[in-house]
């Protein structure tokens, strides 16, 4: 493989929320939403961050642009030859980075100000960042952006309440891309939409990525969407990345028992196929009260003593040509015992 330098390099990112109690606000514990997470995103690729609710995937995405301030770690963002640590920037430099690294939010009903017209909504980032100076210029740019997301520019004088969910998400995308970013952090961009609309938005995102050489960090819980959309996948469980590799590797050779559970619990649209469900027990533990050792040990069918005492580090499995990192003490044993799919009629 050619040497690709990552555009985003996240190192040891942690986000801990204090739990306070009583009048004096004394700290009685911590909720670790993101725990020592490291990953890289290469230029032009789509990295999917997958996990169930509470796994810290959204928090991780928000920490990258400091929508919330992480407690520890570094986020290196490469611009040309130099790179900056986003978490160490002053406000003005941070705003510069935020122009290049933009977010698309999950709920298009909440992310658009109901008191602004589409024109005002899309032009707002342009005015704030002094990209345009007068209304004529802004309108021309807004019309161009609306055409880009396949909406009729004549609708720009309307308010968001007159649009459907899919149309609103298009407006949100136009707004996000108005500042010509390099990186788009898409936080569950289609999960609030009807399935029939999801495909349209996903295709639009793909098309825009091709046209504008965008890099996506795609946060989702929906494996079908992720399989369609991403180049690489990182699986998160209780604030830690447990496995990270290319899409095909993850779907064909999942190494971590949790990944196997995830794959097994998502429906497959093929009646001839049958799932072999790995046996898991229990519920997702409370993030405020994490199990010691491997966080998954309370539900893992293979857990042994070492899983309960020692936190497994993300390590190269070295099983294939492509990079495949897994955080499991027992992955070699697990891999042999599990195959997620089995054809019923042998075809």
């Amino acid at each position: 493989m050619t040497e690709v330098s990552p555009i985003i390099d996240v190192r040891n990112l942690s986000m801990k929320f204090d739990r306070v109690k009583g009048f004096r606000r004394s700290v009685i514990g911590q909720v670790v939403a993101v725990d020592d997470v490291s990953f890289t995103v290469n230029e032009g690729e789509t990295l999917a961050l997958v996990g169930e609710s509470g796994s810290g995937k959204t928090t991780t995405g928000r920490c990258l642009v400091r929508a919330i301030e992480p407690s520890a770690g570094n986020v290196f963002y490469r611009q040309g030859d130099s790179s900056v640590d986003v978490l160490a920037l002053e406000r003005r430099e941070l705003n510069e980075v935020r122009r290049k690294m933009r977010m698309v939010f999950q709920d298009p009903f909440a992310s658009l100000n109901p008191r602004m017209t589409v024109e005002q909504l899309i032009a707002e980032p342009l005015y704030i960042n002094n990209v345009v100076s007068d209304r004529t210029e802004a309108r021309a740019k807004v019309a161009e952006l609306l055409e880009m997301v396949q909406l009729d520019p004549q609708l720009m004088s309307r308010y968001p309440h007159t649009f459907s969910g899919g149309q609103r998400q298009r407006i949100a995308i136009a707004r996000t891309l108005s500042l010509e970013p390099q990186v788009v952090i898409a936080d569950e961009p289609v999960s609030a939409l009807d399935v029939s609309i999801q495909a349209q938005i996903l295709n639009l995102l793909k098309e825009l990525q091709r046209e504008r050489q965008l890099t996506y960090l795609f946060i989702s819980h929906d494996l079908a969407v992720v399989r369609y959309q991403s180049d690489r996948i990182a699986i998160m469980y209780l604030g830690r990345i447990v496995e990270i590799s290319t899409r095909d590797e993850i779907f064909e050779r999942p190494l971590h028992p949790y990944t196997q559970l995830l794959l097994a619990s998502s429906p497959i649209p093929d009646p001839r196929m049958k799932r072999i469900r790995p046996e898991t027990i229990g519920e997702v533990p409370d993030p405020a009260n994490r199990p010691s050792g491997c966080a998954f040990n309370t539900r893992c069918p293979y857990a042994t003593d070492i899983c309960r005492s020692e936190v497994p580090q993300l390590k190269e499995s070295g099983t294939a040509g492509e990079a495949h990192l897994v955080a499991c003490h027992l992955w070699e044993a697990v891999e042999l015992s599990q195959r997620p799919l089995e054809a019923l009629d042998g075809s």
Binding site: R98, A110, S111, T117, E124, I128, Y159, T162
Partner: protein, 383 residues
Amino acid sequence: MTQATTLAQDAEQGTSTAAKLEIDVASPSQIFRWKFMRHRLAVVSLIFLAAMYVMATFAEFVAPYNPYAIESSLVLAPPQPVHFIDSSGAFQARPFVYALKKSIDVNTGRITYYEDVTKPLPLGLFVQGDPYEFLGFIPWDVHLFGTQSGEVYSPLGKDQLGRDLFSRIVFGGRISLTLGFIGVFVGFFSGLILGGIAGLRGGWFDFILIRITEVLTSIPTLPIWLALAVALPQDWTVLQTYLAVTIILALFGVVSGASRTVRGKFMSLKEEGYVQAAVLDGAGTGRIIRRYLFPNFFSYQIADLTLAIPGMILAETALSFLGLGLQPPAISWGVLLQDCRAVRVLDTAPWLFIPAVFVVVVILAFNFIGDGLRDAADPYSRV
């Protein structure tokens, strides 16, 4: 109004595409107006209150007499009914009243008034009467209505000193109707600043503010008003007392209420997706407050404030009735009701209660408007 109703009907039937299009391009404030206009009672109340405020503004013109003018021969004279049919049974196109005659019971000294049917007094609009200064600086002597001959006509009777009650009510409206408004205005802006800082910044300021408002709202209001009203210096002018009473009432009712609601609304709004998105766009705090927080909470707040005005009016009435708010010679509806504290008055001059009717009707009107505004601001109600 008609436009809004037809729009609504069209939308229900799903027929008129033109009307539908109009809803599509409507701004939130247009939709707010349409929804308010559909609330009949609120619209009627709004017109009524507007008329009341116009009346109070042009009190010198609307009132037939100077509110301080004493007619000693007509102490506690009853309201004079308007007639259209004269003593001979003939219909008169021009309404008239009869002059009052009085008889004194020699044993009890009690005065009884009765209509002198031999002396009809035709009424007219824009008649000449007491001279006054229109709007405070234009000398004039024309009044809205009165007898053409210039004889005394008291539509709502006379008080214990022979002063015209209707004129006094009209002038009293100046204080009673504006006190609520000014109080709510003052209270709302202080509440906006305090609650805004608390809601946006949080931390110790928020903590202290909330504790203070909790204490303020848990103190029984009447004793605290009494204490503060008694503390007002006796030698203050009417205007000074008026402003002081307003601020006392606003402080305890509106400021604590408004700062809490503003705080809560700001706290929830700043977590909204679109506010977060604006922060990531690089918008400064001022822009976020101006373009994102304010427009989104103002429609709720305006309904709240309208509903707070009646509380202020009632409080002033109650305080003045007890003799602790405004004092004569100031005229407010509460001051007028002070005359009703004597049982004798109830028996001999029940019309002195009429100011209470004005209080009730005005408060009802404010409540209806508040309801209309609240419904209009409700995002879940249909257009």
